[in-house]
């Protein structure tokens, strides 16, 4: 069994109020390292066996059609062992 991971992030130019709220909360807890925080989504997709190039292409298609909104988001697809 393999795991395909799709990470979806708002495009850099799109305002991320959730990330900003997290960035504002960190220093209140004494964590002063963060210059900026962006929050995204991670999808873990389990499949039987190792993914074929065709399967990965299908996941790419699904990521573009459903998992992300290309108007405001970018995504990456990778395989996790």
């Amino acid at each position: 069994m393999a795991k395909i991971v799709v990470d979806v992030m708002l495009k850099p130019e799109i305002l991320d109020p959730q990330g900003k709220a997290v960035a504002a909360a960190l220093p209140r807890l004494g964590f002063t390292f963060a210059k900026d925080v962006r929050q995204g989504k991670r999808f873990e997709i389990e499949i039987d066996g190792d993914p074929t190039p065709a399967q990965l292409a299908e996941v790419e298609k699904a990521a573009e059609k459903l998992l992300s909104n290309p108007v405001i988001e970018n995504f990456t697809v990778r395989v996790e062992k």
Partner: protein, 222 residues
């Protein structure tokens, strides 16, 4: 004239939308998300709410429900289609209008009466208003910030496709105070505030919202 009102799982404002249609003098027809049958309606309203729990992204899952296929086809053919709030998000996810709705810039869910100006009175849904008319209708959303790239924004501005703008302080971070837009043809309109909650002074802050529903009946009668 028959106006379809779609109910997705999680839709909240279908009853008010149907009531607004009846108040305006039309016949409201309930359409079910899982039924790809438009029942011979002349126009369709996608009402507000939290369809499919707003899972994934607002409107992202509803956009692929069976009823949306004939609706998208009919809208491409010129059928009047109004998306209110969550319905606006569905229109954006279906790419019937450009751009996307994202989380309010201050993160809070807003629920208040909001002043708007109507800027385009040539669409199927806004012809009952006068250009520049100020109206007061409820605004209630968590993800109502209208976002698009600079090129799209310039197009919307240049072609007069911003149908309504917020008056005063920007409530949710929408670009250029956009409250509603139309497609190039003027049959598809997306609107974040709720005209269906403002059709009489007994239940709403005004009767200003009724104009959207009388407009479409006028457009259909020709």
């Amino acid at each position: 004239m028959k106006i379809g009102v779609v109910t997705f799982p999680g839709t909240l404002d279908d009853r008010d939308a149907a009531r607004a249609v009846r108040y305006a003098g039309g016949e409201a027809i309930s359409l079910w998300h899982n039924d790809a049958d438009l029942k011979g309606v002349d126009a369709v309203i996608l009402p507000g709410g939290f369809s499919y729990g707003d899972y994934l992204r607002c409107g992202a899952i509803s956009r692929f429900s069976p009823v949306m296929e004939p609706i998208i086809d009919a809208a491409h053919g010129g059928m009047p289609l109004l998306g209110i709030c969550n319905g606006f998000q569905v229109l954006a996810e279906a790419h019937l209008i450009p751009g996307a709705l994202t989380r309010n810039h201050e993160l809070h869910f807003l629920c208040r009466d909001q002043k708007l100006t109507i800027e385009n009175t040539d669409t199927a849904w806004t012809s009952s208003f006068s250009s520049g008319q100020e109206i007061l209708i409820p605004l209630k959303n968590g993800e109502g910030a209208y976002m698009c790239d600079d090129k799209t924004l310039a197009e919307l501005e240049g072609e007069g496709r911003i149908i309504a703008r917020y008056v005063g302080e920007n409530p949710n971070g929408s670009r250029n105070l956009i409250a509603g837009i139309t497609n190039a043809r003027g049959n598809v309109v997306g609107l974040m505030p709720h005209p269906e909650h403002a059709i009489d002074s007994l239940t709403g802050p005004s009767a200003d919202g009724l104009g959207f529903f009388t407009s479409v009946l006028k457009a259909l009668v020709g």
